[in-house]
């Protein structure tokens, strides 16, 4: 699970609450920049800037045919992140479970005088 450039870009994109809110909105269906800007006290250009970050991360793309080029969600990078995240979450538990076993082993093999040194 070597973190790729794509994963880094997805993480960076997800780090911002506005961008997460935009993604959440896009799960409901495609939307224009104007529609996406509506819930935020934010200008169209500011929202466009967030959208560019999301597009670079491969999380959002644009419809081709419509005049207003609505944005839509692309799910694949998020799937990769959830797979990575699951491994990351397991990291602590797996390590500590192994540490428990290893400490049992150390205690069983520890010389009797170890505490009196």
């Amino acid at each position: 699970m070597l973190p790729s450039d794509t994963l880094s870009q997805v993480f960076a994109a997800l780090a911002d609450p506005t961008r997460r809110a935009i993604l959440a909105r896009l799960t409901l269906g495609e939307a224009t920049v104007k529609e996406l800007a509506a819930p935020f006290a934010m200008s169209g250009p500011a929202v466009s800037k967030h959208l560019r970050v999301l597009e670079r991360a491969g999380l959002v793309d644009r419809g081709r045919s419509a005049q207003w080029r609505p944005r839509r969600l692309k799910a694949q990078p998020l799937r990769e992140v959830t797979e990575w995240a699951e491994q990351y979450r397991q990291f602590w538990d797996a390590n500590y479970a192994r540490l428990d076993t290893y400490l049992d082993h150390l205690q069983a093999t520890e010389p009797q005088d170890a505490d009196t040194k």
Binding site: P3, D5, A15, A24, Q90, W92, R98, L106
Partner: protein, 162 residues
Amino acid sequence: MPTPSSPGVTEIDTPSDLEARITRLVAAPRHLVWLAHTVPGHIQRWMLGPPGWTMPVCEMDLRPGGTWHWVWRKSAGEEMSMEGRYLEVVAGERIVSTEKWGPEWPETVNTIELTDHGQWTLITTTIRYPSKEARDAAMATGMTEGADQSYARLDELLRSLA
């Protein structure tokens, strides 16, 4: 801080905007837990992550200013590398170090503290991120199981797509 009442439970919380804290109680005396955290031959036996990974490189110059470099490898050839520098070392009690996964990842400052808990030992790892955004990104991507309410929406989103 949420202290696990029994071994085998990993607790995670956020003591400040910049930090994430992981606590774990282990049924062993502190001097052994210290050994398991500071001697490469010991670390390589347990600090392996998910099944299928090994830790072929475990270099540590355990003194303030000394560097460390750990590499994990999966049988398929995937590799994961992490490195940093020790800032503070108090034998048997405390290690403060920097940690970096790669050029595009934020450097964190990690503090590992061992405290007596009766005959057992409490391991407290505090990870300090350079910004709240970096901490939130790490946590939002699964470092904690129970994300707080501000991430409920993201969790929902991720679940719906998984």
